[in-house]
Symmetry: C2
Subunit: 201 residues, 2 copies
Amino acid sequence: MTTVTNAQLRFLDAAVDEFAEQGYGGATTRDIAARAHRSAAALYVHYPTKEDLLFAVCERAHEQALECLQAAYDSRTDPEDRLREMVSHFSVWHMDHVRSARVSQYELRALSPNHRAQILSHRREFHRVMRSALQAGVRVGVFDVDDVHRTAHSLLALGVDVVRWFDPDLESDVAGIARHNADLAVRMVRSIPREHEEPAL
Amino acid sequence: MTTVTNAQLRFLDAAVDEFAEQGYGGATTRDIAARAHRSAAALYVHYPTKEDLLFAVCERAHEQALECLQAAYDSRTDPEDRLREMVSHFSVWHMDHVRSARVSQYELRALSPNHRAQILSHRREFHRVMRSALQAGVRVGVFDVDDVHRTAHSLLALGVDVVRWFDPDLESDVAGIARHNADLAVRMVRSIPREHEEPAL
DNA sequence: GTCTATATGTTGATAGAC
DNA sequence: GTCTATCAACATATAGAC
C-alpha cells in the first residue's frame, strides 16, 4: 500500500476537490495549492507535476475501493449473501467518496501511459475478485450466468455508475441506493428453478 | 430539433474529438479550429464562447440518443420485446457515438447553469420513456419491480455506462455487448412465477 | 518545507482586412 | 465567413531566500 506524509495528504485532498469541480484540464495548481492553504511552489516540492498529483489521487482511490471490495468478499461465504455484500459496500464506498471516485473514473485519459497502465492493473484486480465471487455461485448452482466476464463487469458497474449522478447535497439515501443495487445484482445472476422439473444432479 | 449549418457542423465534429481526448478544460479553441481546418477566429463567428460549443455538442448528443430510445419504444408493444429493443439500441447508440456521448456525460459540470438545466431537462425525457416501458410491463404482470424510478434509472445506466470503458479500437463486438445488456435488463425486471402456486387473478 | 518573485509559454477572445 | 495579428490574462514550473 502506498504511504503518504501529512503534507502530501493536505495537497491530495485539495486536489480531489479541485479536479472534481474543474476537471483535470480545468484545474490549476495555483487553486489546488490555495485550497490546501499553501503556495503553488510548495505543491511542487511534493508532486513534481500536476499529472503526478492526479496519479496519486487515482491510486489512493483505487487502493481504497479494492480494499472495500475484498473485505466484503472475505466477510461472507454464501454466494448470494456475498454478492449482496460486495455490490452494496462497493456502492456505498462510491457514494462516500464520490469526488475522488469520479476523478479516478473520468480523468484517466490525462494520465501518462505508464501511470494509466498501473491504474488499469488495479482494475483487473477488481474484476478478478468479482469473477471469483460469481464463479463460486455458478459452481453450486445458485447463479446462472451466460458470460462470466461481462457479467462481472456489469456488477462492478452498478457501483461505479453511482459516481456519474450521485450528489450528496441532493440525495442522502445511501443505504437505499446500495440495497437497490444489491437487489439488481442478485436478479442479474440468480438461477431460476424451472417449473415441473427437478433440479439437475 | 436544433438545426446546424454546414460550417457549424464542421466545428461541432472537431469539438467532439478535442473534448473527448483532452476534456473540456484541457481542450483549446485553437486545436478545435485546427481539427476543423479553420482559424480560431473563424470558430468564434459560429460559437461565441467555448462553453457554447460544449453546449451544442451535448445538446446534439442528447437529442439523438432520445430519438433512438423513443424509436425503439415505438417499434414494439410486447413489454419484454420492447425493453430488449430499447436497452439494446440505446447501448448500440452509445457505442456508435462514444466520443460525443462521453463528452455529454462527463463534461456537464462545465456548462453554465442555464445550459446545464436544458440538458437535465432532456434527461428527464429519457427517464420518462423508460419508466413508461417499465410500467406497461408491470401492469400486465410480466415485470415485477420494487422501485420503478430507480429501476428505470438503472436500465438507462446499462447503456450509458458503456461510454466509460468502450473503445472501438480494442473492442468491436457491439452486437454482443448490446445483447448482454438486453439480457441483463430482462433479468432485472422480469417477474418470477412462483412454484406450487397459481398466478394471481 | 515554505515562501515571494518570476521565467516562459499558452489561453480565450477580439480587431480589422479581404 | 475566413484570415493574420494581437491583447490581456493565466498556465505550469523554477530560482533562490528563509
